[in-house]
């Protein structure tokens, strides 16, 4: 496990405040970071180092909690504790706030673009998940307000290929939504975590979902369609989701983020014990009961809680992380040669 995660560089992204989240653009050339200083910074490479290309200020009145790039890479959405979501349009190195989405009653905790680029989801401490539709004229319309969770909703993420939305909450559950007859409905609730679920990540195929929690475990869930060979019961024509793996005993504090590399399938976690860990699925394990091994464990990756880990979508092994200490770090991960 030695040297499987190597530091490439660090930047002080959000001085005197927390860096909450990171997002790579679809081309993998830019990294957006956001934080407690209410700003969003766009980072790019110049030679061997990472430099700040743009600073997006004047967008929010409070902490920016999450940022998300649109699938085309021309727009950036930012979710803030000021209860609004800003949509920024990219014009070379400049970003202009073109729309502000209002409606949530309090802190917006997450925002995510659907792979089609036509839908956006936001979630908030007001316990609701909102689905928005965007048309060709960049007009946003709220198409659904989902009140399924009973507590603060921490994260939303879209399935990589289907119009399926997943949300994670302080109520210890993960909920899944899809559109049925013109309206969005919650069709499944994944229970099992014993505390707040902080983040979610789909695997490259979208067949599995990873969730991480305050209960210090990562759970892997799998979708079973009706009539599946494994004999997993489904109600009617709805698929069933089952927890097929629990990674416990690896993290000593809350796990704030989990990221599933779309290129290599490696799973990275961001933990409140200041460490970054990487797991890989054992190639010989049963797909219905997979086992994951810890392939990298970097203590003191940051000097405080690690809030986010993000795999570069084009360069395998390139990982970015950010922390309460306001720093963003870049890492090179290499799968260790096994015995």
């Amino acid at each position: 496990m030695k040297d499987s995660l190597v530091l490439l560089g660090r930047v002080q992204a959000h001085p005197d405040s927390r860096c909450w989240f990171l997002a790579w653009n679809p081309a993998g050339t830019l990294l957006a970071s956001c934080g407690g200083d209410r700003r969003i910074r766009i980072w790019g490479t110049e030679g061997d180092s990472w430099v700040c290309k743009s600073v997006l200020s004047e967008g929010h009145q409070r902490t920016v909690r999450k940022v998300a790039w649109s699938p085309c890479g021309n727009y950036l959405a930012s979710a803030s504790f000021d209860a609004t979501t800003c949509i920024w349009k990219k014009n070379q190195d400049d970003f202009e706030c073109v729309t502000t989405l209002e409606g949530h009653e309090n802190e917006v905790k997450s925002v995510a673009w659907a792979p089609s680029g036509n839908l956006l989801a936001t979630c908030s401490r007001d316990k609701s998940v909102w689905v928005w539709e965007v048309d060709e004229e960049d007009e946003y319309e709220c198409v659904s307000v989902l009140n399924s969770h009973t507590q603060d909703v921490k994260h939303v993420v879209w399935h990589p290929s289907q119009e399926l939305l997943a949300s994670a909450s302080y109520d210890d559950t993960v909920k899944l939504y899809r559109e049925e007859e013109d309206d969005w409905v919650c069709f499944a609730t994944l229970e099992g975590h014993e505390s707040t679920v902080w983040s979610l990540a789909f695997d490259p195929t979208g067949q599995r979902l990873a969730s991480c929690s305050d209960d210090r475990t990562v759970r892997i869930w799998r979708q079973y369609l009706p009539g599946n060979e494994q004999g997993v019961a489904c109600s009617g024509s709805d698929p069933s989701w089952k927890c097929i793996c629990t990674l416990s005993g690896f993290h000593s504090r809350t796990i704030y983020d989990v990221a599933w590399c779309q290129l290599t399938g490696a799973l990275a976690t961001a933990c409140g014990d200041d460490a970054i860990r990487v797991f890989e699925e054992d190639p010989s394990s049963d797909p219905q009961q997979p086992t994951f091994s810890l392939t990298a464990h970097l203590h003191q990756a940051h000097s405080q809680d690690v809030n986010c880990v993000a795999w570069n979508p084009k360069e395998p092994g390139l990982l970015a992380s950010c922390s309460d200490d306001g720093e963003v770090a870049f890492w090179k991960y290499q799968r260790p040669e096994g015995p």
Binding site: R65, S128, S144, V145
Partner: protein, 153 residues
């Protein structure tokens, strides 16, 4: 012989007997007071829900009327949402307090109302919060949605 035993019995067991009688009396009194309090609470809470839904229904009916004359695509989508809201309100079982999906349906109505009023909604809400996680989650949070829809005639 048996008599004197009974007499001592009565004295010895007096404490326990009075305990029992006292408990019985207290329990009955408590039950009836609880019933009264429960009824008062139920009436109040039920009225709040009724008032809230009534507000949504009034809002939806007025806007349905106002939009009837408009024909744009956006307005027809808004009509659909309003009609869906009115439908949900009509289906709500007002005379069955034991309906097991009561709160679920109420939340759906609230969500649909939010969708129907956005944007241009004026609202205020009151809540009790306590910060329990580093990004400000409140645990025993009570949120009352008091809506004052702005209707321009």
């Amino acid at each position: 012989m048996a008599d004197s035993q009974d007499m001592f019995d009565a004295i010895v067991m007096a404490d326990e007997r009075f305990h029992g009688e006292g408990y019985q009396e207290g329990y009955e009194e408590g039950s009836s007071l609880g019933m009264i309090e429960g009824r008062q609470y139920g009436t109040l809470h039920g009225a709040k829900i009724g008032s809230e839904i009534g507000c949504y229904q009034g809002f939806a009916l007025v806007w349905k009327c106002l939009l009837r004359s408009c024909a744009s695509e956006k307005d027809s989508r808004k009509m659909k949402v309003l009609e869906s809201l009115i439908g949900m309100i009509q289906k709500f079982p007002y005379d069955d307090p034991t309906y097991n999906k009561l709160h679920e349906d109420l939340d759906k109505i609230r969500g649909k109302f939010k969708q129907a009023t956005f944007p241009g909604m004026d609202h205020s809400d009151g809540k009790l919060t306590d910060q329990l996680s580093k990004d400000g989650t409140s645990s025993r949070e009570l949120t009352f949605l008091q809506v004052i829809p702005v209707v321009q005639l």
